[in-house]
Amino acid sequence: MSSESFIEKIASQQADKGLVSSRIRTKIMKEDVVLEVVNLKKFFNIPIPFETTWFMLAFVAAVVVFAFSTTIGLALMGGVIVLYFLLPNVPPFNKRPKVAHLKAVDGIDLHIRKGKIVGLVGESGCGKSTAAKTIIRLLEPTAGSVYFKGIDINRLTSVEMKEIRRHLQIVFQDPYASLNPRATAHDIIIEPFDIHGVASGDEASYKVLSLLKDVGLAPHHAYRYPHEFSGGQRQRLGIARALALEPDFIVMDEPVSNLDVSVRAAIIQLILELQNKMGLTYLFIAHDLSLVKILCDETNVMYLGKIMESGTSDEIFENMMHPYTKALISAVPIADPTKRSKKIFLTGDIPTPINPPPGCKFQTRCPLVSDICRLEEPPARWYSATHVAYCHNIEGGEENPQVYVK
């Protein structure tokens, strides 16, 4: 059975069972949506190790007030010197380490149409990579759904998922860590063919060579190991591998962030070429906003696990509404000395994603913060059918995007 009809079959099966709402199905079909992400959450459970906390207290030599039976205490009360030697493993306390939730992704929506390059931007640690991995089901979400061409991928069996996985590929943030160091480029690219039984023998080897050529590597590179490549070449290798099964959709997680300018531009050209040639759809993760501005059709701005604002790149870069987007874009250094821009400086600390404050995630640094921001999640304000920002204190906009649909 061809892949397309396989996707259709599963999609209609799921629809018949009522697993995918008809509203979402119609939307996906009408707008040719490749990927629809609804309220996705991914929490990590972090054990809080008590013993370390205790040990630290001793180390910092703070005034320790309590002496527990488990600590070997030496108290010279007369000389007012109090010394506690705390054992790194204090039995009753490390039995059940307390668990905290790190909300890496806390309810994001994405809407990715065929042939588009959709940007996901935000500062380090805001959850971009976690979102990317959850979207292609390398991580199971804590809540929320991901529809790929109308299929709820989190309801697929592992056999079905394997078939679908061909169409959902990722180029990882760190190409070095994600490529097997003991396999040659040839072996790395041929592996997906083996896994999916797509091609073998000479045919597969021929395909490998043509993929290498597609990404601008030479045939003699096929027998090199990852460490024998430069950063830019390794990134190409990761792209070649992701392309091997002719996917529809590729997540590019910071594909150029660690590369030098001249190499970076070459990879960007490659991404654009492949989009033209194969009609690929991309989710492009980056923190270089100047690049996202010219490369992406649409842009999503993320902060501490949440989308703050989404829209077409023009809407985000020319007509941003959210205070965080404004600060972020104003902070980007512009490579034109005649255009030194006025910056918005953010004060305040960035909260940890472990037990973040209630209400708006941006409250600790926001210049517009008010009382309600500390209590309630900000509502959506729609400025066009595609442009939405989540904030209590911005002007204009509509509560419902339907207003803009004729």
Binding site: V60, E123, S124, S230, G232, D260, V261, S262, V263, R264, A265, A266, I268, Q269, L272, H287, D288, L289, S290, L291, K293, I294, L295, A327, L328, S330, A331, V332, P333, I334, A335, D336, P337, T338, K339, R340, K343, F345, L346, T347, D349, I350
Partner: protein, 353 residues
């Protein structure tokens, strides 16, 4: 932006620094000439491995030896050659008159001492003040670099600070002795843009307030455009072009500068305007001969560029280029071969003004 004043603070002539390693001699810096005027910010830009950090270390005389060695050149600070100074004289200059912020802030702060102790130590090392005065000075300088409630945070350890705050502490230490020249090696590269903007603003403000000159090392052309009066572009151990940023961003003369500017997204530019520099950065153990850029250059003059190192040509006062397109030899070559070499202009849309 005001014109850079003309008083020269630092002048480097023909600096050459090699590393003698087991794999071979790394010809990291072949010939560097730099001028830094009083109270100006000079950007030193180039791709990874082009020799930016080694240039900085060479100025301060702290190139790790072995394997590194400064082989030739002068480093004139107020007209005095720093390379001729004794170790103890040089130590006095470092930290007092010239300070440096290193590329990796975490490795240059000691994790077991409080931030305040470390700043105080830097102050006491260079100034005759008591411990108490040094502590007060530390608090003052910490609030100056924008660390909130500095009088409390002075007793914190580095791990209790965020990356951006640690970077500020580094800057506070560097500024604690009112240096005349600050060398900042990628002071904001690993930081998020919102934090980067604060750090750069801080540098700008201190430079203006204290008349301090800065050599700002970065590979980000955006940072250069926002911060600097002049820029020096490095490629594989040479300065290929140096001059006023307004001129260089508008009409670069060197093929590599042109390539570098074409390869970055500029405001108003379109996807199609992004151009690439083919090939890759050379291995400095066995670098290309003469003009080290020649294997990647679209303007290469066969027979000339790979055999004769182009001299520095002064296009106009303060704007220098090292490329045969502007040398007498190059002009002769063009005449002889009946070919013209002219740098293509930047896309119109990208530059206005």
């Amino acid at each position: 932006m005001s014109r850079p004043p003309e008083e020269i603070l630092l002048k480097i002539n023909g600096l050459k620094t090699y590393f003698f390693t087991e794999e071979g001699v790394v010809k990291a810096i072949e010939s560097i000439d730099i001028v830094v005027h009083k109270s100006e910010t000079l950007g030193l830009v180039g791709e990874s491995g082009s020799g930016k950090s080694v240039t900085a270390l060479s100025i301060l005389g702290i190139v790790p030896d072995p394997p590194g060695k400064i082989l030739e050149g002068e480093v004139l600070f107020h007209g005095q050659d720093l390379r001729k100074l004794s170790d103890s004289e040089m130590r006095k200059i470092r930290g007092n008159q010239i300070a440096m912020i290193f590329q990796d802030p975490m490795t240059s702060l000691n994790p077991v001492f409080t931030v305040g102790d470390q700043i105080s130590e830097a102050i006491i090392l260079h100034q005759k003040v008591s411990k108490k005065e040094a502590r007060e000075k530390s608090i003052k300088i910490m609030s100056l670099v924008g660390i909130p409630s500095a009088d409390e945070r002075v007793d914190n350890y580095p791990f209790e600070f965020s990356g951006g705050m640690r970077q500020r502490v580094m800057i506070a230490m560097a500024l604690s002795c009112n240096p005349e020249l600050l060398i900042a090696d990628e002071p904001s590269t690993s930081l998020d843009v919102t934090i980067q903007a604060q750090i750069l603003e801080l540098l700008k403000a201190t430079s203006e307030e204290f008349d301090m000159s800065i050599i700002l090392i970065t590979h980000d052309m955006g940072v250069i455009a926002e911060m600097c009066n002049r820029v020096a572009v490095m490629y594989a151990g040479y300065i290929c072009e140096a001059g006023d940023i307004m001129i260089i961003f508008k009409s670069p003369y060197h093929p590599y500068t042109r390539g570098l500017l074409g390869a970055i997204p500029r405001p108003d530019a379109a996807r199609e305007d992004l151009t690439i520099i083919r090939g890759s950065i050379p291995n400095l153990i066995n670098p290309p001969s003469a003009c080290r850029f020649h294997p990647r250059c679209d303007y290469w003059m066969d027979g000339l560029c790979e055999t004769v190192l182009p001299d520095i040509v002064e296009i106009e006062p303060g704007h220098n280029v090292r490329c045969h397109i502007y040398t007498e030899e190059g002009k002769a070559w063009m005449q002889q071969h009946g070919e013209k070499r002219e740098i293509s202009t930047m896309p119109k849309k990208a530059i206005t003004g």
